[in-house]
């Protein structure tokens, strides 16, 4: 089960959302990076997801898997954000660490 790219992409998109003023949750999260920091982190995480995907699925399929899982992660994130915005961001952190654990397991 190679879900790591999707989980990392979810965290990446959550981070990118934090760089947009209107999506920054109120009250603020316990840990909330500044918009610029959030944007850089988001793009970096997207790159990490791509590398993980290439590693897990191999060349051509890795690209397909990365795009596909990022799209699904985006849909899930937007649904969560519109429903329970704090949970949406918490899930990103949880998902990130689950992905790291899975990658090293």
């Amino acid at each position: 089960m190679s879900l790591e790219p999707g989980l990392i992409s979810y965290a990446a998109l959550a981070s990118l959302a934090l760089s947009v003023m209107k999506h920054r949750p109120t009250p603020a999260l316990a840990f909330m990076p500044l918009p610029t920091m959030a944007r850089v982190t988001g793009w970096l995480l997207l790159a990490v997801a791509l590398l993980l995907s290439l590693w897990r699925f191999g060349g051509p399929q890795g690209v397909v898997a990365w795009i596909g899982q990022t799209c699904v992660a985006g849909a899930v994130f937007v649904l969560m954000l519109s429903w329970r915005s704090h949970a949406a961001f918490t899930l990103a952190v949880v998902g990130f660490f689950v992905a790291v654990a899975m990658a090293f397991a």
Partner: protein
């Protein structure tokens, strides 16, 4: 207003016009194509579910090839051709189509035999209920149950509309990045626009890819002229492109067919472990016999596999497909991307969810058309009512039809003559029947009840499966039968989704005064819930 700005406005407006009307015209068919296409990502799994009698353990290709040939040698050794589909990870049985020798007296060439299903481990013929299985959704996805070639033409036309709608939609959408994550609930038209935008933008790579590759998959049919200009006969093009198929006649001199096992091994060795998928044996037991082994595409993006042909009488390699050029590789990869046969479980579920996102995009687009034109208090014009009713007929009723197809599989007796066709009829009678019935109800009730009935039909599937087969939900959990377990889970999830839709439809008030909307919804909830139940 500067000149450039007004020019841009005009472009946006004309694109919005194209987007609205192309999308509306093709929307209902596209919704059905997206939904059945999404289901088709699980084509072999649906077929397995629809033949619950079959329980087979996986078998290596070589063993399956040997038992298949042994079976055919015992039953019809004098055929002109045996077409053998070997089992794989997703289809556990061996499938064979045999073609008898042409009768010199008969005018028409004989058709190939009915499908023969074998247990790959023993070569014994399998008896399972007759069904189209997942093949039905797959065929409907691009043939729309219309006579050839009209279904494919209509599907292609809709795909072109879809592609145009995607391009014009991207140009029209002013705030792609500003509204990238924006989804606001309970705001009427605004909410539909948000849902349409989000489902389209977030999965845009998938939508663009699937529409384009879908169109390309049938390109030879839609654009036959380049081939017509260069080849006198269509078949010559295929011979040039994919290599000439072994179609020689029998010599009349009998010669025993060499064992198939070593040929399968040799092919697999040459493909560096690539699995054989199909074996075509021409003129078996003749000195001119040929054995063509085709490679499985399950491990590569390219859907078109290579092939190797052996002599059936000596076992020597005769020829192999020439390595494909750039154009054929591109075509093969396009088709592969569309079909997703290369995808393992994770990637296949990803494709499935993206397909659902596409379905949501098309559905919300059609809903948006009415949401934009709804005028509280005014009598709706004819076109508005037509679109509204067609939306209900498609979005609320098609899922019920698909569930009916699966329910019919469990409820029609397994031995009944012509049951496969009955299953298909069940889908369309339920779909169109329910759509007709919703006409009798006011629009709001039609939405709520149509969606609720669809939800009920899906929720009934695990129950009916439990009663009618010995592979019910609890048995699957106990025995670790992943396929049946996932199938029941997916049916319940779809039922929950449709039920949620029905519940939401019951809650929404038609254009109430803005401030009172929340209170009104809360006040009416118990009554509406009763209506649903």
């Amino acid at each position: 207003m500067s000149k450039a700005f007004s020019g841009e406005m005009r472009l946006r407006q004309s694109m919005a016009w194209i987007h609205t009307w192309l999308g509306l015209l093709a929307g209902w068919i596209l919704f059905a194509m997206f939904l059945t296409g999404t289901a088709s990502y699980f084509r072999p799994e649906i077929t397995q579910w629809m033949q619950p009698e079959l329980r087979l353990a996986p078998v290596a290709p070589r063993r399956a090839a040997e038992t298949a040939v042994a079976h055919m040698q015992a039953t019809s050794p004098d055929d002109q051709q045996w077409f053998i589909y070997l089992p794989n990870d997703r289809t556990p049985e061996t499938r064979i189509f045999a073609m008898p020798k042409p009768d010199p007296g008969a005018k028409e060439p004989k058709n190939r035999s009915a499908e023969i299903k074998l247990d790959p481990a023993t070569g014994a013929a399998l008896n399972a209920r007759d069904t189209c299985g997942g093949e039905h959704f797959y065929r409907f996805h691009f043939q729309l149950q219309l006579p050839h070639p009209w279904g494919r033409w209509l599907a292609g036309l809709c795909a072109i509309f879809m592609l145009a709608a995607i391009l014009s939609g991207v140009i029209t959408h002013k705030r792609i990045f500003a509204d990238f994550f924006t989804l606001r609930w309970k705001k009427g038209q605004r909410s539909w626009l948000d849902t349409h935008n989000v489902s389209a933008v977030l999965a845009l790579p998938f939508h663009a890819m699937i529409t384009y590759t879908g169109l390309i998959a049938l390109i030879v049919m839609y654009m036959p002229w380049p081939i017509a200009a260069n080849y006198a006969k269509h078949a010559d093009f295929y011979a040039d492109a994919y290599g000439r198929e072994a179609d020689g006649d029998a010599s009349g001199k009998p010669a025993a067919l060499k064992p198939i096992g070593p040929m399968v091994d040799a092919a697999s060795r040459q493909w560096q472990g690539g699995r054989p998928r199909t074996i075509v044996i021409r003129n078996p037991n003749d000195s001119a016999a040929t054995v063509t082994i085709l490679r499985s595409g399950a491990d590569r993006l390219n859907a078109r596999g290579e092939s190797i042909t052996y002599s059936g009488a000596t076992g020597a390699k005769l020829s192999q497909s020439s390595p494909p050029g750039a154009a054929l590789t591109t075509a093969g990869v396009m088709l592969g991307l569309h079909l997703g046969n290369f995808a393992g479980p994770v990637l296949r579920w990803t494709y499935f969810l993206l397909g659902l996102t596409g379905t949501a995009m098309v559905g919300t687009g059609s809903l948006l058309w009415t949401a934009k034109r709804r005028k509280p208090g005014a009598k709706p014009f004819f076109g508005f009512r037509l679109v509204e009713r067609l939306n209900i007929a498609t979005i609320a009723c098609l899922p019920a039809g698909m569930a009916a197809f699966l329910l019919a599989n469990r409820l029609i007796p397994a031995g009944l003559e012509g049951r496969a066709a009955l299953e298909v009829s069940a889908m369309f009678w339920t779909w169109f029947g329910l759509a007709a019935l919703t006409l009798l109800r006011p629009v709001r009730c039609a939405w709520v009840e149509g969606l609720a009935l669809s939800a009920a039909a899906f929720a009934a599937l695990p129950l009916v499966n439990m009663v009618m087969t010995d592979r019910g939900l609890f048995t699957s959990i106990a025995s670790g039968d992943w396929l049946f377990l996932s199938f029941d889970g997916a049916m319940l999830a779809i039922a929950a989704l449709l039920g949620f839709g029905s519940w939401r439809a019951a809650q929404v008030r038609v254009a109430p005064p803005r401030r009172q909307r929340k209170a009104a919804a809360a006040e009416f909830r118990p009554k509406e819930l009763l209506d649903v139940a």
